[in-house]
Symmetry: C2
Subunit: 243 residues, 2 copies
DNA sequence: CGCCCATCTTGATCAACGTCAAGGAACAGG
DNA sequence: CCTGTTCCTTGACGTTGATCAAGATGGGCG
């Protein structure tokens, strides 16, 4: 699609708003030019897959706008959402770095614009600019920390506590008003996917929601959630508060 | 082994056998000299802690000989073994990279020799030699892949399947004979710690062991395990084999 | 040899979660 | 407006693994 790609507007790495949030902020003009020339932009509609688990890694994906989910499936067909990705994130960098096939799938959850950069280019940039590697190092180290935390939580915490935790994470990004402890939340995910985020069945998610409502911790209606008291929610993830 | 390196003998980074297995293989002589001068060697007895979860990161630890366990505890006191570390591994690099406190503890499980390298030195080396950063990048990316795999397994697989999986992992390092499908295994861990590796209680581990014995999959006696048929064990981690 | 202590095992019980099955709600397309 | 489809909820039930409480085992040491 040459110079144009969406509704006829030129997208390039220089004006990409996501760039400063990404690892690529380490690049200088010359390197950016290389990146810009190599990238292939593509729009994805909700449900479309950016790459499949098991596919060979051919490069990395630069997330420009939208929202995508990282999904991992095991041999039995059980799947969980490993996480959500947002503009500025780089997708599929892990498989690229270790030279393995993709260990998870990425699929658009909202309409998304994502650039693809082939392995050779990324490798050139990495060798050329050490700072880029250090940026990636920080990102992947952070991700690793989060993953390890999640391993612990998935074996020690109850569904209820894990769900409370998820709500708190989503709050930071999707809470509309957070004044006196009350806040409202517009969920970016369907029930199924909420369930997949914490590795449970949709039925169990329904019941967890019902319980939280019965206990007055949170009220759900469609995709919007009302939390009347942040402290009540926080108490859900605390150890038995012996007060 | 070069200058030798056991009790009361000079240890240096040049003759360290673990070096070529580690990220530090990227260093040249000059850099090695810097590392060698900065490092502080220390012996740890089983049970001794190298660093505690929550401690600020002051640098990284280079594993020379022995065996250590990485343990993570949550607010309720539940703990799991995130993994085992061996000579050649670098410990605590994650916290160092993101500049956070240690997210887990490291404790010696066997007598171990471990060098400490302060943050300033590592930072200098990283800035000085880009290849070192790329080495770390590979390591941490690999670890992240393993962690993500484990998240999925911990929520989808049964205790039995997770235990079978653990046995297979330990097999690669500790199996004595692996000829015709039969093999024997000398476990490096006590039951408690085996349990902690897959996030279950010791009681449950006992029962899992009993079950595997009743089904003829594996026989346990103290720390040695006899697996009469590898295929039987493999079948434990497969989806319901509709054969 | 016998004792102590830690570790491991066993049993009984219970809550949590998955599974199966059925019914309801929301929504797009005709 | 109806209809099919997908998603969500609810109920009944079974299984899994945690918990609590005793015992058993085994190794180090006097």
């Amino acid at each position: 699609m040459g110079a144009c790609n969406t509704s006829s507007i030129r997208r390039d790495c220089f004006t990409c708003q996501s760039r400063d949030r990404a690892e690529w902020c380490a690049l200088n003009d010359e390197e950016l030019r290389l990146l810009d020339k190599a990238k292939v932009v593509r729009e994805y509609r909700p449900g479309e897959v950016i790459f499949h688990q098991g596919d060979p890694s051919r490069g990395v994906h630069c997330f420009e706008t939208g929202m995508v989910g990282i999904r991992k499936i095991d041999a039995d067909g059980n799947s969980i959402l490993l996480g959500l990705a947002y503009p500025g994130d780089t997708l599929g960098y892990r498989s690229f770095l270790v030279g393995e096939d993709h260990g998870a799938s990425a699929e658009a959850l909202k309409p998304s614009t994502i650039c693809f950069v082939d392995s050779a280019t990324v490798r050139t940039l990495l060798e050329h600019n050490p700072a880029l590697g250090l940026q990636f190092l920080k990102t992947v180290a952070r991700d690793l920390g989060a993953a390890e935390e999640r391993i612990l939580q998935s074996v020690t915490l109850s569904v209820r506590a894990r769900f409370a935790h998820l709500l708190l994470v989503l709050k930071d990004r999707y809470a509309t008003s957070s004044e006196d402890g009350t806040f409202e939340l517009e969920l970016p995910l369907a029930r199924q996917d909420l369930a997949a985020m914490i590795g449970i069945r949709p039925e169990t998610m329904s019941r967890a929601i019902k319980q939280l409502e019965e206990d007055g911790v949170a009220y759900f209606s469609g995709r919007s959630v009302l939390v009347p008291d942040l402290k009540r929610l926080l108490r859900e993830i605390e150890p038995e508060s012996y007060l």
